[in-house]
């Protein structure tokens, strides 16, 4: 089916099967490879993107449901890497292999919109279904607090 969607402020029209997950539209059709495949069943969080201000797992959203919607991916989180979360991630030197971090960042961006000063428990609750096999969780938590403290919006 032909679908149109907006990603990072740009409109795209693509021809895909209606069951194609948004993840593969982003990665294969639009060549936006910052959004990662980790499991394909919504169990790892690596593919998380924003629909408006809501974080969702792009491997679970079929093209038919993505049609007409506006998404933000890691490439569009800021134009220049200066989103408070991106700055905090660098300050806390969070990433090890880095593969899961795009998904983490998108979930945290949504969390901070909804809850600008989250507690540790709120952070854990938002990120507990994200997998980081390198074990960067403690630094992620610190980076979320740092981003919350730095965000003057």
């Amino acid at each position: 089916m032909p679908i149109s969607l907006s990603v990072n402020g740009r409109r795209h029209s693509v021809e895909v099967d209606s069951d194609t997950p948004l993840l593969w539209i982003l990665r294969d059709q639009l060549r936006l490879t910052g959004t990662k495949y980790g499991c394909g069943v919504g169990a790892c969080g690596a593919c998380t993107v924003l629909l408006g201000d809501i974080a969702l797992r792009s491997c679970q959203l079929p093209a038919s449901a993505a049609n007409g919607k506006s998404f933000t991916t890691i490439e569009g989180l800021s134009g220049d890497g200066t989103h408070p979360c991106q700055r905090a991630w660098i300050e806390e030197d969070v990433a090890q292999c880095g593969y899961c971090q795009a998904g983490m960042l998108m979930t945290v961006a949504a969390l901070l919109k909804a809850n600008p000063h989250p507690s540790d428990a709120a952070i854990d609750s938002a990120l507990d279904q994200h997998v980081c096999r390198c074990g960067t969780y403690a630094r992620i938590r610190r980076a979320v607090h740092r981003a919350a403290a730095s965000d003057q919006r």
Binding site: V16, D17, D19, T20, P21, W24, R27, D28, Q29, R31, L32, T33, G34, T35, K36, Y37, G38, C39, G40, V41, A43, C44, A46, I74, E75, L77, S78, G81, C85, Q86, W89, I90, D93, A95, Q96, C97, G98, Y99, C100, Q101, A102, L105, I123, D124, S125, L127, D128, Q129, H130, V131, C132, R133, C134, G135, T136, Y137, A138, R139, I140, R141
Partner: protein, 723 residues
């Protein structure tokens, strides 16, 4: 075949770095003298002053790109703000790209500094010649050569033309430790900006013109062979181009990943089962138990086991360790392009040179006709020392005559790993009436690593060395028992077994350190004091080819004792445990863990809470303390996952297929981790990627004993173990 150690450390450099070789392709191109200064494989400086460093080890999260760059930039006195990295491909000269055994830093330390010292000497000579002064009267700092007496200075960029005309010296003096300005400082990861913006390129992010996407249906059980199949249901899916049988299974090739996955789902090939179609891990553990009852290969024997001395005690226990998956978040994958007589590969691999050699052999072309471009790796942990994904992608590209990216799904990755070995350990210890340990016997029953097949007659010419290699943590026990007997009891398996984070060590160290706690209890001693007492005597001890330095191990134990509050009461409801290890004779690590029981159990989570892990490390010269801390933090989470999950086999196949049935540690399970680094008095750095893993697990299990009074001798830990 190479030895186990050599396999893991096959990226080790030769004794001398050959200077003056210039790489092409993925390395530095031959530079016109006027262009830039490329004195060796590792360094290129252009006229604008940008220093490009070739990185010859694979980044999988251990921070090696940052730390190798630090080593070169420090010795070169480069301007750190104008350093660029180039990840070396398998082109001329780059023959040591394989990355494993926690040996990147240890093995690169000297050759990289020699290369940088030579380059710095040439830049100094070029400036000195221009100024008519002695090179020795010049100094370097921050990408600039200075002549203090005359106040003259010149940037490296301005010197590249002259320096490039000079001969490359040998034996250029290297800096004294006190003159280092980057090594030992906290440097943030060089790839962080590209990671947080999504610009970083991993294996699956490779996109080349005309490439196809493929997924592979694998045999449903060990040794099953592909029979007949009807390809039409797959070809009926839009975007599916071909269904191709290859040696690894049946591939579906399409215009997009999703089409390939859907095409795959539409197929139902027939398989002819192999002789291991009924193999299961429950029976394997029974076989391992039986193997313990018959003599194994002795890997260390000192003294002779006799009856317990008067008033002494004999303790016996058996420990069980499961199969484990690596489960990196980026699954195995490779992009290959085979053209007439050549092959290019883009792969997240720890073993680019191995992939090059094996693909060349498979395709029947010279190694020089195969170029592997390593990408960033979304988690390696040893799994990517194997190159099965590269062989499959290359075979597929040859069949299709097109570039193709082969994606392993999560299910493929989980079920078709090269797993961490399962083992059963039989331990017997004797303490005398004074509470001193006098005898130790540790039998390990397990398969052998079999990535390149079972060991050959050549491998087994020196069976003791071979089995010692396979039993780190057993034969290299650091403690001063007057009688020590260790042995390996081999049971072959159809499961692919390969390196996993800390390789052979985690299972053995778990059994050894938990059993040390049992002996301490039998002796009526505090477990930390008991260990310290058992590290008295000779300051160093030889085990196989390793030298264990008991002083360094005592120091890390003493440090965690001081920092953890050991000996003072833990908070109500909490308890502490200790463990330590010397990894492969190199890095020394000790932990104190502090645990409690949660008020309620949660499905999918550990049945206990780890609050705090206090770690002391002696890894020799520290390149980047920030990196050391990160590796310990990660190792603690790795150990928690080890306590939480296992791979089991039934009907000739792995039963787990995702993070749902192989749950790894989560954010809410993360303890506070404190890392204390022992200042080094030596001149050699050792690895940190793996060494913090093995003692973390037994420290936690020992803390659980202190809390509950129950010994946990079988992993993973279940809720029932807490009652």
């Amino acid at each position: 075949m190479t030895s186990r150690r050599a396999f893991l450390k096959s990226g080790a450099y030769g004794s001398a770095l050959v200077l003056g070789i210039r790489a092409t392709g993925g390395g530095f191109r031959v530079a016109k003298p006027a262009d830039r200064f490329t004195p060796n494989l590792w360094i290129a400086i252009d006229e604008a002053g940008t220093t490009t460093l070739a990185i010859g080890k694979q980044e999988m999260g251990q921070g090696v790109r940052t730390s190798l760059a630090m080593i070169v930039a420090d010795e070169l006195d480069a301007d750190w703000t104008h350093v660029a990295l180039l990840q070396a491909s398998t082109t001329a000269g780059f023959t040591r790209l394989n990355t494993g055994g926690s040996w990147s830093i240890g093995g690169s330390w000297r050759p990289l500094r020699e290369a940088a010292a030579a380059a710095r000497a040439m830049l100094k000579s070029a400036a000195a010649a221009a100024w008519g002064v002695e090179p020795a009267s010049c100094t370097t700092a921050n990408g600039t050569v200075r002549h203090e007496p005359s106040g003259r200075s010149s940037s490296y960029g301005n010197l590249v033309v002259a320096a490039a005309r000079l001969p490359v010296p040998t034996g250029a003096p290297m800096k004294a430790p006190a003159d280092r300005h980057l090594i030992g400082t906290r440097v943030k990861r060089i790839d962080a900006p590209s990671i947080v913006t999504g610009a970083a390129r991993y294996g699956l992010d490779i996109r080349i013109p005309g490439m196809l996407f493929a997924s592979l249906i694998r045999p449903p059980s060990f040794g099953a062979r592909l029979g007949s199949f009807d390809q039409r249901p797959a070809l009926a899916r839009r975007g599916v181009r071909a269904v191709v049988p290859i040696s690894g299974g049946l591939a579906v090739v399409a215009d997009s990943t999703w089409a390939a996955l859907q095409g795959r789902r539409a197929l139902a090939p027939r398989w002819t089962p192999g002789r291991d179609a009924a193999w299961n891990s429950a029976r394997h553990f029974e076989e391992l138990e039986r193997a313990l009852a018959v003599p194994g290969v002795l890997t260390r024997q000192e003294g002779a086991l006799g009856p317990a001395p008067d008033g002494g005690k004999i303790v016996e226990a058996r420990y069980y360790y499961p199969f484990e998956a690596h489960a990196p978040v980026e699954p195995m994958n490779c992009t290959a392009h085979v053209t007439a007589g050549r092959c290019e590969l883009w792969a997240p691999t720890q073993a680019p040179n191995r992939a090059q050699a094996q693909v060349a052999q498979q395709l029947g072309i010279p190694e020089t006709a195969v170029v592997v471009h390593p990408t960033l790796i979304g988690g390696g942990f040893g799994r990517r020392l194997a190159v099965d994904y590269a062989l499959q992608a290359a075979e597929l590209s040859r069949e299709l005559a097109a570039p193709v990216q082969l994606l392993w799904t999560r299910e493929d990755d989980m079920a078709h790993g090269h797993f961490q070995n399962a083992s059963v350990h039989q331990l017997r210890g004797v303490v005398d009436a004074s509470g001193k340990g006098v005898a130790w016997r540790h039998r390990k029953a397990a398969a052998l690593h079999n990535l390149s097949g079972p060991p050959t007659a050549e491998d087994l010419r020196d069976p003791v060395a071979y089995f010692q290699d396979s039993s780190w943590g057993v034969y290299d026990i650091p403690y001063a028992f007057s009688t020590i007997e260790t042995s390996y009891h081999r049971v072959d398996v159809p499961v692919k077994i390969g390196p996993w984070r800390a390789v052979y060590s985690p299972s053995s160290t778990y059994a050894r350190e938990c059993f040390m706690d049992e002996l301490a209890s039998a002796a009526g001693r505090d477990p930390l004091a008991f260990r310290l007492a058992m590290l008295e005597g000779a300051e160093t001890v030889k085990a196989g080819g390793l030298t264990i330095d008991r002083r360094r191990l005592r120091r890390v134990l003493e440090l965690v004792r001081e920092r953890s509050g050991w000996g003072t009461p833990a908070a109500a409801g909490r308890a502490r445990g200790v463990a330590c290890n010397v990894y492969d004779g190199e890095t020394h690590v000790a932990y104190v863990a502090e645990v409690s029981l949660p008020a309620t159990q949660r499905a999918g989570y550990l049945p206990f809470t780890v609050h705090r892990m206090v770690c002391a490390v002696d890894c020799g010269v520290v390149i980047n303390p920030l990196g050391v801390e990160q590796q310990v933090e990660g190792a603690v989470l790795w150990a928690l996952s080890n306590l939480k999950s296992e791979i089991t086999f039934k009907d000739g196949r792995a039963e787990q297929s995702s993070y749902l049935d192989f749950p790894v540690a989560r954010m809410s399970e993360t303890p506070a981790v404190e890392v204390y680094i022992v200042p080094s008095h030596g001149e050699q750095p050792f690895g940190m990627g793996e060494p913090p893993v093995p003692p973390a697990t037994p420290a936690i299990v020992n803390a659980l004993f202190a809390l509950t009074g129950k010994r946990i001798r079988r992993l993973p830990i279940r809720a029932a173990d807490m009652i």
